[in-house]
Amino acid sequence: MTTETAENQALIEETVRDFAERYIRPNIREWDEAQFFPTEIMHQMGELGLMGILVPVEYGGSGLGYREYVAALIEVSKVDPSIGLSLAAHNSLCTNHILMFGNEDQKQRYLPKLASGQWIGAWGLTEPNTGSDAGNMQTVAVRDGDHWTLNGSKNFITHGKSGNVTVVIARTGEPGDKHGATAFVIEQGTPGFTSGRKEDKLGMRASETAELIFQDCVIPDTQRLGEVGEGFIQSLKILDGGRISIAALSVGTAVGAYEAARDYAKERKQFGQSISRFQGIAFKLADMYTDIQASKMLTFDAADTKDRGEKVSLQSSVAKYHASETAVRVSNEAVQVFGGYGFTKDYPVEKFYRDSKLCTIGEGTSEIQKLVISREILRG
C-alpha cells in the first residue's frame, strides 16, 4: 500500500468515524427499539459520498475502490451495524448491479440519484421458498413484445419498503437453470409492484427488511439489466463483491463489541482489582483481538484483490465466513465480559450480540460460504 493510499484511508476512516459519532451514535437505541429506518441518515451519508463509494465520479459517485469502501463500512458498523448493513446493501447490491450490468442510459438515469443518496436502492433475489437455493426462484417474468410481466414475491429484502429503485432477479427460463433468470430495475410506484410485510427482527432492527410483491407488474424491456438469461450469473458476481462488504460489516461489529469489552474490563473492579487483571478475562480479549486482526486482513486482502480486477470468489467467501463467525463469537464474549450489565440495554454489547447474527446468514450463510470455498479449493 502506498503512503498516499494509507493517508487517504486514514482520512476516510476519521471522517466516517466523526460522522457516525455525531449523527448515528446518539440515536442507536431509539432506532433499534422502534425499528426505525433512518432514511435521513442515508441521505446525509449520500452528501458525504458514502452512498456511491464505488461509483465513478462521472456518474456522481466517489470513484473509490473496495479498500476505501471496506474502511468506511467498518467505521459505520463499529457504531451501528444496522446502518452498516443498509449502507452495504445500497452500495454493493443495488447500485453496483446497475453499475456493472446496466447500459449507459440506465446508468445515467439511476446512478447519480443513488450515489448522492437522493434515492435509496434495494436488491431482491431471495424468496420465501428459495434462499440459499436462489437458483430455483419462483418469481417469473414473461415477455410480451417490448414488455415484461412480473409475478411473484421476494422476501427479506433490505429497503423493501423505502427503496426508490429495486433491482429484481426473476425467472425467465427453467427453474434451476443457471441461465434461466433475468435482472430488472424497477422504480417505486410502478403499478403491480408493492411492498408487503416489514420483518420484526432479532437484530439489525434499524435496517428495514421487507417483502416485495409483484402482481401483473408490467415494465418495458428498457428496464432489463443486461442480457436475458444472465440475471442469476450476474447475481453471483454481485455477491462476490457483496460478501466483501458483509465481511467489513462483520469486522466493524466485532471491533465495536471488542472495544466496549476492553474498556469495560479495565474499569470494572471485582475482588479488589480490575477484571482485566484476571487471566480468564484477559485471554478472552486476546482471542477477540487476534480473531479480529485475522478477519481484517482477510477482508482487506479480498478488497485489494477485487481492486486489482482479479477473481475474488474464494477470498471474499473466506473473508465473509471468517469475519462473520468472528463477529458472532466476539460479541458473545463481549456480553460475557460485561456480566449482568452486558445483558441490559444500558450497555452497547447486547445489541452487537443481536446484530452480529445476521452476518453469518445474509448474502450466503456460513454453510454456503463453506460450499463455495470447498468447491474452489477442490476444483480441477
Binding site: E7, N8, T15, D18
Partner: protein
C-alpha cells in the same frame, strides 16, 4: 476576499497525556492528532464565507510534516491551498511571528484562527499577529458576517455578548457557534491530494521562553457525598480540606 485560516495540530481531546525525558518532552506515542477544535470552527466559517463571497481560502500551519494529515483534512474540508511553515512550533510569540511573516507578504483580508489551541491554550496568537501586522484583532468571536467589505461580529464577554463592526483586514480568534464543524466528503478527500501544500522554511529567530518541565494535574480525589441539608458541613470541608474558601 482572501482568507487565511491558521490551524494547529493538537492531541485528540481523549488522548492520555504523559511525558518523557524527565518530564521535558510530551510523549506522542499512540496519540492521535486532530485539527484544533476551535480552529476547526474558524475553518468551517471560512468555507461558508468563501462560498458566499468567492475569493480564496488558504490554510496555514506552523509545524513539522507530522501535521500534514491535519492540513490535508483542512484541504478536504474546503481550503484551496495550504502553507506549512516547516518548524517545531515553540511558543506563542514564535508562532505568531511566523504567521505574520507570511501574512505580510500575501495581504489577506481576513485571518481566522481558533480562540486558543487545546494543548498549550495560551490564546494569544491572534492578538500577537494583529499587533505585528498593525491591524485589529478580536477574540473570542462567535458570530461573523461580512457585508460590503465590513465585518459584523459578536464576541463573548463577561456575562454577555458584544456586537462589533470593523473594516477589513482583521484577525479573529473564533469559537462555537460561529459555524458547525464540517466533515469532509469523499470527493473532497480525493481532491485534497491535488491541492498545493507549500512547505516554506521558518524565519530564524530566538526563542523568548524556555520550557523547563511539564507536570500533570493532581489526580481526581475521592468524591464525598454531603446531604443537601448539611450546608454547614460542606462549608467546613471546603475550608479545612479543600482549602478553597
Amino acid at each position: 476576499m482572501k482568507i487565511l485560516v491558521c490551524i494547529t495540530s493538537v492531541p485528540d481531546t481523549t488522548a492520555k497525556i504523559s511525558f518523557t525525558q524527565d518530564n521535558t518532552q510530551f510523549n506522542k506515542t499512540g496519540v492521535q492528532f486532530i485539527i484544533g477544535p476551535y480552529d476547526d470552527y474558524a475553518l468551517a466559517r471560512a468555507v461558508e464565507l468563501k462560498e458566499q463571497h468567492g475569493g480564496s481560502l488558504t490554510v496555514l500551519n506552523v509545524g513539522t510534516s507530522d501535521s500534514d494529515p491535519q492540513i490535508r483534512k483542512a484541504l478536504a474540508i474546503g481550503a484551496d491551498d495550504a502553507i506549512r511553515i516547516d518548524t517545531e512550533p515553540t511558543d506563542s510569540y514564535f508562532v505568531a511571528a511566523q504567521i505574520a511573516e507570511i501574512a505580510q507578504k500575501n495581504s489577506y483580508d481576513l485571518i481566522l484562527m481558533g480562540r486558543e489551541s487545546i494543548d498549550f491554550n495560551s490564546g494569544v496568537v491572534h492578538g500577537l499577529v494583529g499587533e505585528m501586522l498593525g491591524i485589529p484583532s478580536y477574540s473570542p468571536v462567535m458570530k461573523l458576517e461580512i457585508t460590503d467589505g465590513k465585518a459584523e461580529f459578536a464576541r463573548e464577554i463577561d456575562g454577555g455578548k458584544e456586537f462589533l463592526e470593523a473594516d477589513l483586514p482583521l484577525v479573529l480568534g473564533c469559537q462555537e457557534p460561529i459555524a458547525e464543524w464540517k466533515i469532509p466528503n469523499m470527493r473532497g478527500i480525493m481532491t485534497a491530494r491535488s491541492k498545493p501544500l507549500n512547505v516554506v522554511p521558518a524565519t530564524p529567530m530566538d526563542d523568548l521562553t524556555v520550557l523547563k518541565k511539564y507536570t500533570l494535574p493532581a489526580p481526581k480525589g475521592e468524591c464525598k457525598m454531603i446531604a443537601a441539608e448539611d450546608a454547614e458541613q460542606l462549608i467546613a470541608l471546603l475550608r479545612t480540606e479543600a482549602k478553597v474558601l
